[in-house]
């Protein structure tokens, strides 16, 4: 019972936006909104871009090794 009450209190607290304050910049829609948008896009895309770059490099290396493994026996025969 007390656990359920505690959970309900936590849920209520979590759903009260006035209590949970975000950073001051995010709360102000008028000032620096363009910069906020640019920064949000930048920070969202940066990890994805880096992961894509790392994945692309790993794929390129794997492809390079595969081609080498195919080509070497042919080269040794000549």
């Amino acid at each position: 019972m007390s656990r359920a009450l505690g959970l309900a209190a936590l849920a209520l607290l979590g759903s009260a936006p006035g209590v949970a304050r975000a950073c001051s910049t995010c709360m102000d829609p008028t000032e620096g909104s363009r910069t906020l948008l640019v920064v949000t896009i930048f920070l969202s895309l940066l990890p994805i871009g880096m992961l894509a770059g790392i994945g692309g490099y790993a794929w390129w290396r794997a492809e390079q090794m595969r081609r080498l493994a195919v080509a070497l026996p042919l080269l040794e025969r000549t």
């Binding site: 620096g32 920064v39 940066l46 090794m65 080498l68 493994a69 070497l72 040794e76």
Partner: protein
């Protein structure tokens, strides 16, 4: 036993990317996000300030020209490490000379930064004097700390290379960290100083 002049076969089951390089990729990934967060915060605070109020009027002007000169030293250290990486297989002694040069250039950069910090603190520009000061010392100080670590790691690599005990993947990882530290600086310089 392999014949002399035979083309080495790729080792079966060899990793696509060596462990040292994977570890460094993870480190650099986290570091990029760390600095991106701080630089984004710095940009947002600057954008929110009223016109003419960023940097705050009471703060001293940052030494743009002198720091630009020190930046050249750091960039030269990056070039030296790049050339050492290209030369290490064919000319170990030449690569060692280049790496020592890189350590010297980076040390000159760090020495200048200490001097700059001391001078700025002396005129009252501190971590708590303004938000600008807080961001300045956090961002530039964090980069300087990374540069100190990079110099220590590079010195370790120089010692191992002179002993002939430096593994190629370890050297690649060291160079990756160095390129990160050197490549990040122009971004910080442009955003914080200019």
């Amino acid at each position: 036993m392999a014949e002399a002049g035979a083309i080495p076969r790729p080792i079966r089951g060899a990793p696509i990317i060596e462990s040292e390089v994977v570890a460094m990729v993870i480190v650099v990934f986290c570091e990029v996000m760390f600095f991106a967060g701080f630089l984004s915060g710095f940009s947002l605070i600057g954008a929110r300030a009223p016109a003419g109020w960023w940097p705050p009027p009471g703060d001293p002007a940052l030494p743009v020209a002198a720091t630009g000169g020190a930046s050249v030293a750091l960039l030269l250290s990056g070039v030296a490490v790049f050339l050492a990486g290209r030369r290490v297989a064919a000319d170990r002694a030449g690569a060692l000379r280049l790496l020592w040069g890189a350590v010297a250039f980076a040390s000159a950069f760090l020495t200048y930064q200490v001097y700059e910090f001391v001078r700025l603190v002396a005129v009252g520009f501190t971590m708590v004097s303004s938000a600008h000061g807080g961001f300045f010392y956090t961002i530039v100080g964090a980069h300087a700390l990374h540069a100190v670590i990079a110099v220590a790691v590079l010195s370790w690599a120089v010692r191992r290379l002179s002993e002939g005990a430096l593994r190629a993947p370890a050297f690649t990882a060291v160079r990756m960290y160095w390129y990160f530290v050197v490549g990040l600086w122009p971004v910080i310089y442009t955003m914080v100083y200019l």
